[in-house]
Each structure stands twice: as structure tokens, then as C-alpha cells.
Symmetry: C2
Subunit: 418 residues, 2 copies
């Protein structure tokens, strides 16, 4: 396979990211949207993993999901099913989906349906449950499950109706505008959430304002500054899937974590995973918790850094740097500058005012990561390592270099015709 | 009047700004809120001025207001009344009110009622009409008047009901949060408008969602990124009025423009106005217009710079610098640094992430303006100089130095017992 110009291949992959037009077109149950998702099967965050190697919060979320679906009546029954091979576990990434933290997605859970109007593909992500003891962080008590049922039966049908009434809500303009409003869209989504609510409100007003549940639906939508995280993740997934499978490209189109392993996939290497042990985030903890309680890095939300926002866009979000214990204004600028050294280029559709409207650094290049020894940086929530507890902080983490070394070797072999 | 410590007086005045807690408590007709506002009387922006010296857009807005109130049937009749001494014109500032651009406020126009929960006083501002041919820029055609009637009869009662249901919407937290989201809150209010709508929405949902007009009310509230300008102005007025009348203080508690004159008032000099000719803004023009079409600097909205935001907070809003033709990210930082040289101190409740969470420069000190020869800078909309046309651009402008020289002389005389 000679004569492949890696730079040219990377340009093609990057252009597919830049040109993508993700549009939220519906909210429906996962079983209806995601082909192949059937009873007895759950999707999870990160690269493939068996039950035995799963971290505490992921196992906790699975127990919760089995009870939520009614496949298990009790925690004990759920544990039996999950550990006994009765449940099939698959990466969400294998089904055009992504999930924050544990990423557990079961058939009855509603998902955002995001369509790429430029390329025609779709991607999916569950609805953000808010803060506190929530399933995505491994909580699985009755209150967490009750909230999921309310989301399924009350919230999601209303959202779906409003989104369909809108004819589709374009996400790229919201994301671009939010980047000019100090969101980095991973750990800070207050602007995007507010803009999204403004975009949705006229349609909610015309479709569900007469419902008895309207007040509680509005309460839920305005209460959680991170609400937009999940549509943003689906938009990034729907974008990056088009950067896959460009022959010869060293651009990373997936970075994700299952809480045990960190995994990447590279455009020119198809669906092959390169994995290494997940690092421990460094950050700020809620009162009473410390790094000793932390689970290693977890979740598909690193799709945002893969897309060029999150820690890559920290320059535009000095407020998030403080929130994550990642330093000052100057440090925030430096993270974005550093990530510019390991990316294929910039995304002019995602411009940062603090960088004089330069686009975000976009498309991690496996070659540059290895050459510079600079690992991608990721802004992340921190989960307690035991199941059932939930979020205990937020911070930053580096992708493990080993994945990139493996991938570069594999790319060299493939380009050599190996 | 010896032994007055100006620095100490300024500290007192500044602390009253910092400690203020403006809360939106109601939306009602101006005649109901503003004591002394009666039929045959109009409030206007800026220092006192007679009809003959008023600029084109202010005269245009007055013609529109007289037709809107039904005091005149035709433009000709309105011009007769206004020029014939039948209408009393007063600065809004004399009635605890402020108005953007022409600032024309008539008894039937609804106003935001903002209460200072720390000091008990109230301030008022009309509701932002949106962009295009609107009264505050001097437009006065049937469409402009029809929109005002819809605001009076449909929008304002709904807003009032929702605000009363909320028990009051605290504005300081919204303003502080918006400053961390790249608003400077004079020419950029997209974050504050979005946050305000999020705060109001649960109450609208419970008070007016069943109304047939609910859809159009929501449309209006989400359509205009500058909607929050007017509550912000009322909040700043409600705050700064408490910084007035501190004996010996050289802090400027009013800066405003009527389109002909720029006026300031100084804490230690009571209600006395110091005026000079309004400067011409420098900025970017809508297609087809140029500085030759511009009206001189106009409006009470410089209350925002008086409070420490607007151009004073440009460091946090590099996006507005581009919008105003005021330069790059570096220039935005420099405006805030420069204003720090002429202010009494900083407002820690209004922190800017791009300044490592330093508070905005707050409280223009007449002495420092004269010593440094640095005039306060203001972000502003630009009105066409002829009545009936409206906004033609946006830019920045400097306050005329002459006001500050006059005021410093008067302060010296007063402190000398003159």
C-alpha cells in the first residue's frame, strides 16, 4: 500500500469533521433508534470489556439498568444475570451511540437522535439525568430509577414532540455560539444548555404547554447546566464517525474510557481498538472525598476532546479551569496551545474569541502525539470507585501514551503493506 | 467643609455599589410605578434638554410616543404639541428611571420594577423592543407603535404575572454569571438574556402557559439577544443611586447622553449636572450607512459603564470587541486595564475570568480622569441622526473630558467651602 500521503489523508478526515452539520431530529426510546439493541443487551462507555473487569460504577449502573428495565427484580438477581452471562455487553461506540461516564444504555431509555445533514448518518445519546445520585455515575437506588422512569414516560415524549415540531434543531450553531460564551462543552455547558432551551422553548410552548406536566418538564430542563452535554456528545459522535476509514489517515476518531481501559481508534485503521489502562483524574473533590475514592477515568464524553472542544477549547473557558483545579487564565490558554501541537489542524466553525477567533485544535494526530510526547488532555467528572455513590469531583486527565504508540506501530505496518 | 477624606468618601460610595442587591419584582405601566409621571409628560435619556436642542431620533421617538399614547392623532399634531410647550420633558434619571438610546418613556409603557433589597430603593426601565425600526432609536411608524401596544397589552401583563409568581428574580447573580459567559452587558447580552429566560420560564409555565398568546410571548422573549439590556440598566440605576450624595466623594454615579449633550453627576455634588457636547461613536455600520449618517452618542445605557460593565468589562467579552470594531482580544483586555486606572476600585461581585476573576473596574473617579487624561470608554449602539430610521451600527465612544474638568473644579470649590 505505497504512495499514501498521510497528510493528505488527514486533511480529508479533518474536512469531514469541519463540514459536518449535526441536527437534533428526535427523542425516542433507544430500542426504536438503535438498530440491533434488543432485550437482554446493554451498551456501555469505552472500549469492549467483560463484566469481571468492569469498574465499580459501571457494575452499579448495570444493576440499576436491569432493575429499571424490569429484567431483574432485586440487586441480587441483577448481579446474577450480569455476572452469569445472561446479559450481552457492547460498547455504545459499536452502535453509533455514546454515553457519559458509565454510559449504560438500555432499550427503554430515551435517546437524542442526531442526524448529520451533510453526510446522512445518525448518532445517539441518552438524556442527562442531572447531578446527584444518578445512574451514569453508578448510582442505582430507587430514586435514581424513579427519575429514569419519569424521563422515559413524561420528559422524553414531550421533548420528542417539541423537537419534531421544530423540524430539527441545528446543533453546530449552538455549539459555536456557546464556545464564544465560555463553555468548553465538556465540564461547562451553561451557555449551550441555555441556548438550547431558548431554541426549544417556542416549540414546547406549542406542543406541550397545555400538559399537566409542563411545569415539571420546564423545571427539569432549566435546572441542570450540564443538560447540553449529551446532545453535544451525540453531535460529536455523528461528526467523527465520518472521519473514520480514510485510508492512511493517522487522525484519532475515537477516544473513550470504560473506567478500566482507555481506548482509541484511528481513521486509517478502521474499527480496531488500541487500549491501555485508564489514568486517574487530577482535580477538585466534593467535601469528604479524595483521590483515594476515585475511579479511573471513565466515559465516552472524551468524544468532545476528540472533536476539539472540552480541554482542547479551555482557552475560551477560563472559568472551567478554576472549576477543575486546572489553574488560571494563562493555564487555560496554554492547554489549547499545547493541544494545537498534536492536532491535524483547526476547526474554523468552532472559533474561540480568546484565541482571536482561531478555530479549536481539531483531530488528534497519532504521529504528533508520539513525536512530541504530549498526550491529549481531557476535562472530566470524577466518579466514586464503588458502585452506588456517584460523582465526587471533577478534574483533568491525560490519555495514556501507550495507545498512541501501539496505533502508530500498526499504522506503520499497514502502510508498509504489513 | 474641611477634613473631608475624598478616598474614604469614595470607599463608602463604592461599597454601596458592591453591596447592592437588585431584584426584579414586577412589570407594570410606568404611570403606576413612577411617582410623578403624569399625562402630558415624557421622560427622556440623558441630562435635561429642551425640544429645540433635541437630536433627530429623540424628536422622532417623542412623535411616536405622543401617537402611541393617543395624545396626538397625527405626526403634525404631535410636532405641534411637542414644540409648542404642551408636553413636559424630563430626564428619566430625575425619576429613578433610565432608558436606552432616546429613552422616551410615556405613562402607558410598561416598565421593569427593580428593587434594591440591600437599600430599599427602586428603579425602572422600559422593555426592550428588539431590533429594527423601534421607538428607542427614533422610529415612529405604525409598526413600531403597534409593537408597543402588543407589549403593553399582551407581553407586559404576562411578564408581570410570572415575575410576581417568582417572588422576585435576583439580577446580581444573573449579571455575575453572564460576565463569566462573555457578556459585557451593554452591547452583548446573549448570556444574560438566556439565563434570565431560564429563570423566568418555570414561572411563565405556571402562570401564562394556558394563554392563547403564550407562543408569541415566548417567541418575543427568545428572539432578542439584547432583551436583558433593560433589566441590567434598571439594576445598575437601582445600585448607583445609593452611591449618590456621599459628602466629599469624587465618584461618578451618573453618565448619560441625550444625543446632544453628555452629562455626568458626582456623588459629592448631589444632583448637579456637568455637561458637554456628546462625542461621535466610532464603530461598524450596517450596510449602506456611514459615520456621516450617525447621531452623536445617545442614551442612558452608559449607566452600565458607570456601574463597571460594558466597555469597562471588555476583557471578558472579546467577541463584543469584534462586533464593535474595537479590535482584538488584546485590545479587549487593554480597555479593561485602562479603565482600572480611572476607577475608585473593583467590584468583587462582578468578576471576569479573563482577568483571573478580578472584579470589574468600578466607580469612575473624577480626579483620576483628569490626572490621567483618560476618558471613560462606552460601548454603544449608533442611531441614524434623522428621526424615523433607527439603528445603523454599533461602536465605542469616549465621554467628553470637559464634564470631568468642570466637576473637579466644582468639587474643589465645595471642599474649600466655596
Amino acid at each position: 500500500m505505497p504512495n499514501i500521503d498521510i497528510d493528505e489523508a488527514n486533511s480529508i478526515a479533518l474536512s469531514r469533521i469541519v463540514e459536518s452539520e449535526p441536527v437534533l431530529v428526535d427523542v425516542v426510546p433507544a430500542s426504536q433508534a438503535i438498530e440491533g439493541l434488543r432485550d437482554g443487551m446493554l451498551l456501555h462507555a469505552g472500549p469492549p470489556i467483560d463484566w469481571d473487569r468492569m469498574c465499580g460504577p459501571m457494575q452499579g449502573a448495570i444493576v440499576g439498568a436491569l432493575r429499571y428495565e424490569g429484567w431483574a427484580k432485586t440487586e441480587a438477581e441483577a448481579l446474577d444475570q450480569a455476572s452469569g452471562g445472561q446479559i450481552a455487553f457492547h460498547p455504545a461506540h459499536h452502535f453509533s451511540a455514546v454515553g457519559p461516564m458509565t454510559g449504560i444504555t438500555s432499550p427503554s431509555m430515551p435517546v437524542f437522535v442526531v442526524e448529520n445533514r451533510r453526510f446522512g448518518n445518525r448518532a445517539y445519546c441518552t438524556i442527562n439525568e442531572g447531578l446527584g445520585r444518578v445512574l451514569r455515575y453508578g448510582a442505582n437506588d430507587d430514586a435514581a430509577i424513579e427519575k429514569l422512569r419519569w424521563m422515559q414516560n413524561t420528559l422524553a415524549p414531550a421533548l420528542g414532540e417539541a423537537v419534531r415540531h421544530s423540524g430539527g434543531i441545528e446543533l453546530r450553531p449552538i455549539m459555536a455560539q456557546a464556545l464564544t460564551m465560555s463553555d468548553e462543552m465538556h465540564q461547562r455547558n451553561v451557555a449551550a444548555t441555555s441556548l438550547f432551551f431558548r431554541a426549544l422553548a417556542p416549540h414546547l410552548a406549542r406542543t406541550v404547554a397545555s400538559s399537566a406536566d409542563y411545569g415539571s418538564i420546564v423545571d427539569f430542563l432549566v435546572a441542570n447546566d450540564q443538560f447540553f452535554l449529551n446532545p453535544a456528545m451525540a453531535a460529536a459522535k455523528c461528526t467523527l464517525d465520518n472521519a473514520a476509514n480514510v485510508e492512511g489517515s493517522s487522525l484519532v476518531y475515537t477516544m473513550c474510557r470504560n473506567g478500566t481501559d482507555f481506548g482509541i481508534r484511528v481513521s486509517g485503521l478502521g474499527d480496531r481498538w488500541f487500549t491501555a489502562t485508564s489514568n486517574m483524574p487530577q482535580g477538585l473533590y466534593f467535601p469528604g472525598y479524595s483521590i483515594a475514592d476515585s475511579n479511573p477515568d471513565l466515559g465516552d464524553s472524551a468524544i468532545l476532546e476528540t472533536f476539539g472542544v472540552g480541554a482542547f477549547a479551555m482557552a475560551g473557558s477560563p472559568a472551567v479551569a478554576g472549576f477543575l483545579g486546572a489553574g488560571t487564565f494563562r493555564d487555560a490558554l496554554n492547554y489549547s496551545r499545547e493541544m494545537g501541537e498534536i492536532t491535524v489542524g483547526r476547526n474554523p466553525n468552532m472559533a474561540v474569541p480568546n484565541l482571536d477567533f482561531q478555530g479549536v485544535p481539531c483531530g488528534v494526530d497519532v504521529r504528533k502525539v508520539v513525536e512530541t510526547d504530549i498526550a491529549p488532555v481531557i476535562n472530566t467528572g470524577i466518579a466514586h470507585k464503588e458502585p452506588g455513590i456517584g460523582q465526587i469531583g471533577a478534574g483533568i486527565v491525560r490519555a495514556p501514551m501507550e495507545c498512541f504508540h501501539q496505533a502508530l506501530e500498526a499504522l506503520a505496518e499497514r502502510l508498509a503493506g504489513g
